[in-house]
Structure formats: C-alpha cells, structure tokens
C-alpha cells in the first residue's frame, strides 16, 4: 500500500531520529533500514533525507563525522545527540497523542456493525 506523501512529510524527523536512536548510521544505511523496518512501505525520496539531516545537525540534534564503513569506504555518519534524544521523545509523544486522537475519530466514524 502506498502512503500519501504529505503523511510521510510530517513524520520524517521522527523517523530519522528513531533510526539514529539505536546507533550511528550513514545516509544510505538509514534509507535501507527504513525500508526494512517498514517492509518497504516507507520509501522516502532519498534526496530529501539530506536537507532533514543537515537541518537537524544545524540545530544540534545530530552530529556528523566521517569514518570507514563496513564496505571499506569512508562515509559521513550521523549520531544522535542528547538534544536529539529529547526531540525524539517530544516527537514520539506528539505522534502517540496524534495517532490516538486520529484513531478515536476514525473509529468513532466507523459504520455501525463494521
């Protein structure tokens, strides 16, 4: 099932921070992990990942550094900072609250007996 792009756009920061919360990653690794965890549902246009990462870095939510990847090539890695973890917590709570309310409304509108 394809997801509406605008739904994705609102949650990319949450997704990116979540991907980094369990360890440092470089760009393609994040895209591959996102596809794996969502069974291929979340297919971000890959170019758009970088403005998000760079903006997070400018805000001090992530920190980048270069080091050798498992394929022997040097890659630019991103690591979540304590400020990034705080933002992740806020975004997660916001998402839970939002999805709860959306669910409540959607379920409330469901046809009787459905």
């Amino acid at each position: 099932m394809q997801i509406d792009k605008s739904l994705m756009a609102g949650s990319t920061t949450l997704l990116v921070l979540s991907l980094l919360s369990d360890g440092e990653k470089y760009g393609y690794q994040m895209i591959a992990e996102l596809a794996r965890r969502s069974d291929g549902t979340f297919q971000l246009r890959e170019g758009t990942l970088y403005p998000i990462l760079h903006a997070l870095e400018k805000d001090g939510r992530v920190k980048s550094f270069r080091r050798e990847a498992e394929n022997g090539r040097e890659r630019k890695y991103y690591r979540i900072t304590p400020a990034g973890l705080e933002l992740l917590q806020d975004k997660t709570e916001e998402w839970r609250f939002f999805s709860e309310k959306v669910n409540a409304v959607v379920q409330g509108c469901a046809p009787v007996g459905a």
């Binding site: 890959e46 758009t48 970088y50 903006a55």
Partner: protein, 276 residues
C-alpha cells in the same frame, strides 16, 4: 562495481548548485554521490544490470532541484560566512593570546652575545682569562609611553699578557638587553633608539652611540652599539654593548634623549652579581 559516475555527479552538482554558500557545496556533493554509489552497489548485488541499477538509483533520489532548494534553506550564506568569520576570529584570538603570553614570560637564556674580545685575544692564548658577571640593575625609566628596562646585564672582563712586551692587558665591556615595553601593540619601535643612546660612567667618560661617531675604528674606542633582536606583542628588545669600559668605573649610565623624550638607566658595576 563501478557506477556511471557521470550521471550521478551531474545529479549531485545540480542539487548542490542551489546552495549559495559555495564553500558548502563540495561536501554536500560528495555525500550525495556516496549515497548514490551505495544504492547503486546494493541494486547490482541484488542482480540488476548496471544500467537498470543506475536508472533506479536516479529515480529513488527524486528531483535534484527540489532537493537542492531544500538544502539551500539549511545552508544559508550568511550562516556560512558567520561560521567562517567566527573560525578566523578564534584563530586570531589564539595567536594574540600566544603573543601576549610570550611577551610576559620571556626567556633570555637564548641570547647569544658575541665574544667581546675577538681580535684582541683568543681562548687559545694560554694567558687569556675571561670573567663574566651577571648584574641585576633592577632599574626602569619611562618616556613617551615606553617603559625601558635592562632585564639582562653582563659585565665582562678579559685579561691576557701581551707576548711581545710581556705586558698584562685588560679589556672590559658591558653587554645587556635593553627592553622597551609599550601597552599598545601598534606603538612600534621607539624612535632612533640605536642612534640616540649613549652612556657615561662615574669617571666622566662618554660612550657615544656608534651611529654618532665619525669613525668606526676598533674596540679601543668607547662606544655603545647594538641591534634589535626581535619583539613580542608589547615589547621590543635590543641586544647592546658598551665597549672599552674604563676599568675604574663604578657605574655606567645609559642615556637617551630625542624629541622631548629621555630616559636614564644606571648600572652599578660594583654590586656583587653572579659570576659565570
């Protein structure tokens, strides 16, 4: 497997061209290119042909202009220049700090005074004796905002026997470092110091500046000479010497007078210093 870098490079350059702060472009381009290579390699490993892998990689990246416009919003030129300016400011402060710290903790051990008795006697002369006394005159004087002092003074005495006439000979000189400190780093070196400095001793002898004298003959003349030996942020230093000192002199006074500014620094030659 090697990707077709040209198509990827072109996509990355197009996206990066939106960034107005040019210094950020190469890093962004490289990161995007690395991403495309990683995606390409993963697709080839899955069994796709290079051509198909390249097509899918480019398609997955999306629109280069859209990505570029989003990157341009993050990499704003004024932030970039602010960052560059801040870096220069930090570097400049570090250099200034280093210069100030050097100017407060000067080490004079490195001063190599020339041998004052050169030409008169050498150390190979078995009758030659050299005596060096370090003096600490602890005197300062001020003029035109400069504070003049003598951080290092050595009184040197050489004795030897003239072989032809079997006559004992003595030669004395005072070697010193003259320091001119000014609170303003841009004050410059004091005007005409070497030309206008002279010395007098307790016996009434005058030791003119070498620049004041008509002839520059030899060491038998009484004179004050010297050269600048460098500066730190707030201090200028001159390595100088008073030649052919009268052996009877109890003190010698350095004097300077130029354009309404004068100073006098007296060196007591009788005080017990450290012999070396």
């Amino acid at each position: 497997m090697k990707s077709n870098r040209l198509a990827f490079q072109s996509w990355c350059s197009r996206a990066a061209a939106h960034i107005r702060f040019k210094a950020d472009r190469p890093d962004v381009e490289q990161e995007l290119l690395e991403h495309m290579e990683d995606h390409f390699d993963a697709l080839v490993q899955e069994g796709l042909t290079a051509q198909e892998a390249e097509r899918q990689t480019l398609a997955a990246m999306g629109d280069a202009d859209e990505t570029g416009a989003a990157l341009a919003k993050v990499h704003k030129p004024y932030l970039g220049w602010l960052y560059v300016a801040a870096k220069w400011l930090v570097a400049l402060s570090a250099v200034l700090l280093l210069m100030v710290s050097c100017s407060t903790g000067m080490d004079f051990s490195g001063y190599g005074f020339p041998e004052p008795f050169q030409g008169l006697a050498t150390e190979s002369d078995e009758t030659y004796r050299r005596e060096i006394t370090y003096l600490y005159p602890n005197c300062t004087d001020k003029c035109n905002g400069y504070t003049f002092s003598l951080p290092v003074v050595t009184h040197r005495r050489g004795t030897w026997v003239e072989k032809q006439e079997n006559m004992p000979q003595t030669y004395e000189a005072v070697y010193f470092v003259l320091e001119a400190a000014h609170p303003l780093p841009w004050a410059g070196s004091p005007d005409g110091l070497r030309e206008s400095i002279y010395a007098v001793d307790s016996e009434g002898n005058l030791y003119p500046s070498r620049c004041q004298k008509v002839s520059h003959s030899d060491y038998e003349e009484r004179e004050v000479c010297g050269n600048p030996v460098g500066r730190t942020l707030l201090r200028y230093r001159f390595q100088m010497w008073i030649s052919t000192l009268d052996p009877d002199a109890e003190w010698v006074e350095l004097r300077y007078g130029r354009m309404g500014c004068s100073f006098a620094l007296r060196i007591d030659l009788t005080e017990g210093g450290d012999a070396a």
